[in-house]
Subunit: 209 residues, 2 copies
């Protein structure tokens, strides 16, 4: 198809499509003349994926790019790739410079790890989610409602059961599909979980009236 049809079917502006090509996020079409190029269904799929990552999941461009890079350069097992993709999703990344003293840099997350079930103890300190946890714990502390070890344990147990079902549900056999599912699922099922938690709170308070 020509670029005009690609634009129409993907529902993405022409300037944006050209921008993605310049940024290396979308491969250029196959040149058929000096001024024309041909695009196919793979381009359309890719555009839809970029749209999901940036517009639907709301990821900034540099993080969307990192995730595309993981998909484009499959290295190691699907689990290695998954680890790198989840790492790219996180809002704050532990810098490599001060590797080794994460316990000092993220004291709240380090303390929380001791309260979480033992399943959580595999080399967490180097993970991006570790910095994110520390930040979230600090915010609760500043608001005067620090979380208790008992609550952390409870959260940890239930969330691990949820995460296990999510990882088990990955499409098998197709690494690219598995990665897309994992990355989009992490980002897009989060608001679903948050909404269900609010519904649960409301149900419990209604029933207690």
């Amino acid at each position: 198809m020509q670029i005009s049809e690609l634009v129409r079917r993907a529902d993405v502006p022409l300037a944006t499509v050209k921008f993605y090509i310049r940024e290396g996020m979308l491969p250029p079409g196959r040149s058929t003349s000096a001024t024309r190029a041909e695009y196919d269904e793979k381009h359309l799929d890719r555009l839809r994926l970029i749209r999901s990552l940036t517009i639907v999941a709301g990821l900034p461009l540099n993080r969307a790019k990192k995730i595309l890079a993981v998909i484009d350069h499959p290295e190691g097992t699907i689990y290695d790739m998954l680890g790198r993709a989840i790492e790219a999703l996180a809002s704050s990344n532990p810098s490599d410079e001060s590797a080794g003293d994460e316990t000092n840099r993220y004291p709240r997350a380090a303390a929380a790890l001791a309260a979480l079930p033992p399943t959580y103890n595999a080399s967490n300190e180097r993970m991006a989610a570790f910095a994110q946890l520390d930040e979230a714990l600090l915010a609760a502390e500043e608001a005067g409602i620090p979380i208790t070890p008992a609550r952390l344990r409870l959260y940890g147990d239930h969330i691990m059961a949820i995460a296990r079902a999510e990882i088990d549900g990955m499409p098998a056999g197709d690494p690219e599909a598995a990665l897309q599912y994992a990355v989009l699922g992490t980002a897009l099922y989060e608001p679903i979980l948050a909404a269900i938690r609010r519904l649960a709170h409301q149900n419990l308070t209604v029933n207690a009236r």
Copy 2:
């Protein structure tokens, strides 16, 4: 204390304190002369609460105001108040105008409700979280990873167990403290849960390598 001390201890700029007073979010001090007013610990607590709601929890001003109004005008049981506060927290509110046809307005949330455990069935349609759930389900659907009824059931079970512990953990006896705990907890423990979920994903993928 004088306003300069209040500003210093609360770590909020003077102009912001004056703005909160004008907006009726913070009561004015007790006038001691034509140009001076006296503030006390209650003003300090209130400023810290406003700071938690707006800066730490990131709520827009109009929603923070609604929550303060619930705290300032205690009506009904603590559970009634809690319901109103959680309602004010939600990002989108079902409007009253078209009350009654929420199933049509939020078809995805309505379908999800049928898949969730029966604990979730108490008059959910009128709740703010219902609109939020519908929006989140739509985003996942648009990205090509619609959620399955089995996954919803699993999420619903674990999240209900989490929500039950949260509601049970409310400070008893002091309605104002209970409300603050509930509102801040809903907003501030959400990022903690999200970070733990990412840690869980990373642990599961590391262990599978």
